[in-house]
Amino acid sequence: MAEHLLEPDSTRRGFVNWFLGLSGVAFLLSAVYPLSRYLVPPQVAESTAGTVTLPIKPEDVKANSGQIFKFGSRPAILVRTPAGELRAFTAICTHLNCTVQYRTDLTQIWCACHNGHYDLNGKNVEGPPPRPLDAYVVNVRGNQIVVSKSA
């Protein structure tokens, strides 16, 4: 459109058309910009909890079992291995975000959505998950289980 202005025989019509086109684009932009920003959800502060004390007593967690607990706003899984060791991982499957569960029959962490398997170190051993589950640090302090993010 700009060439209308540069041409020596540029007419008033050309200028008006160019000006009209420009205002049209400006009008569209001034509508599209706030609209597109409106559609994008604002960032909500992530729960920064680095440590969680579970509402479960250590002696209530049987060997070869697992359960989901809240770690901030996300689910995590607490597992007691058949050998008696307590471990915790994020419960969000690395494949497509489903919440995993403990399978006593396989002694594995398992995701029902696409049949993904993790061993008791959180390592992806079978099925589609591409990465291991993030591990948390589990400490037993007296009667309490404290789970924290590894440093």
Partner: protein
């Protein structure tokens, strides 16, 4: 005293002078339907349209009781199913008609594909139809979440994560779709808005375009029929074909009523983000072939995450299907095109096989 017929004629003349009834009549009378051995497939599009109208009407009725929030959605549907008179019927018809609509849409799509009705000058009709397929799947995906139960919660987690896992724009689109980083009440309100406003408005406009184009170009006579000299016989649309259409619609309505009465829609358990995904979780049947394919992909293919390969693969498959009118040059030239017939059959076979596997293969091993 004036007779009823005379009065009717007067009203007609009055309306004709103002809105041009006679012109509409002329158009309706001009429309003809070719008669040949594949005529039956012409009914599928109209059937899909009928089911879409059922969806709009029952959807509006559901709006009267539904509450779009994580705290109230499940309870409002529970109330609708348990307390509201015939609430179960309206919701069940909505759920079943959705499934039937997707089914007839797929049959319509594949009959158009195999009968090569996408060839010039009907490319834009094909594109608008493909866009309507996309919208229908969007309807299904967003509507599935609205009861806020366990199954729909995890299906939505997976579905939106698939979007997020797509390369480039994926993470942004995922956030846009979910209204945040996770599937929460914000996702529910967003899906609600998409399901009851954005998609219906877009779909209605596109259906209008699609119908206009069908009207403009007339029904496509399959090239095979044309070559063998068939397709010369025609029947008027009004009333011959329309009445046949109507019989089909009544049959669909009867099937719908029977399905809704004998197999009412279930509600399941309320979604709880702090429970593991239940075993046997699966999406709606029309996503099943994709879902099952993702299960078979290994974690990494040539160093790329398996799911990304799958997602990009399905994306490319969709683009291929969309562009078929441009890719099938032989049909466009009026020659027979075995290759694209076989491609169509292969797509159908793939979808059927993987859907079958999705329902029969063990979910745990």
């Amino acid at each position: 005293m004036e007779g009823g017929a005379q009065r009717f004629d007067k009203v007609r003349a009055w309306l004709d002078a103002r809105i041009g009834l006679k012109d509409l009549e002329k158009i309706a009378k001009k429309k003809e339907i070719p008669i040949h051995r594949h005529t039956i497939w012409y009914y599928l599009g109209g059937m899909t349209l009928f089911l879409f109208m059922v969806q709009v009407s029952t959807g509006i009725l559901l709006l009267l009781y539904y509450r779009p929030s994580a705290e109230e959605a499940f309870e409002s549907v529970q109330f609708l199913m348990g307390e509201v008179q015939f609430g179960w019927l309206i919701r069940s018809v909505h759920a079943w008609a959705a499934n039937l609509m997707i089914f007839t849409l797929f049959v319509h799509l594949f009959s158009v594909l195999l009968l090569k009705a996408y060839r010039p000058p009907r490319e834009v009709t094909w594109f608008s139809g493909m866009a309507l397929l996309g919208l229908a799947m969007g309807f299904g995906f967003t509507g599935y979440l609205l009861p806020w139960n366990e199954l729909s919660y995890f299906a939505t987690k997976v579905g939106t994560e698939i979007t997020s896992a797509a390369p480039l724009m994926g993470p942004f689109l995922g956030r846009l779709l979910r209204g945040g980083n996770d599937v929460t009440g914000a996702t529910l309100t967003r899906f609600y808005g998409i399901h009851v406003a954005i998609l219906p408005a877009t779909a209605t406009a596109l259906v209008g375009l699609h119908l206009y184009l069908v009207q403009r170009h007339g029904m496509s006579v399959p090239p095979g029929v044309e070559r063998s000299g068939g397709g010369g016989r025609r029947m008027p649309f009004v009333p011959n074909f329309m009445l046949r259409d109507l019989v089909g619609w009544l049959a669909a309505l009867a099937i719908l009523a029977a399905l809704a009465a004998f197999f009412p829609a279930e509600l399941g358990k309320k979604a709880d983000p702090f429970l593991p995904a239940p075993a046997g979780i699966r999406p709606e049947w029309y996503f099943m072939f994709m879902f099952q394919s993702l299960k078979y992909l290994p974690a990494h293919i040539l160093g790329i995450e398996g799911e990304i390969v799958g997602i990009v693969g399905f994306g490319l498959g969709g683009v291929f299907l969309l562009l078929i009118p441009f890719l099938d040059r032989r049909t466009a030239r009026g020659e027979s095109s075995r290759l694209f017939t076989w491609i169509g059959i292969a797509i159908i076979a793939y979808m059927l096989l993987f859907t079958y596997l999705g329902y029969t293969a063990s979910a745990t091993k």
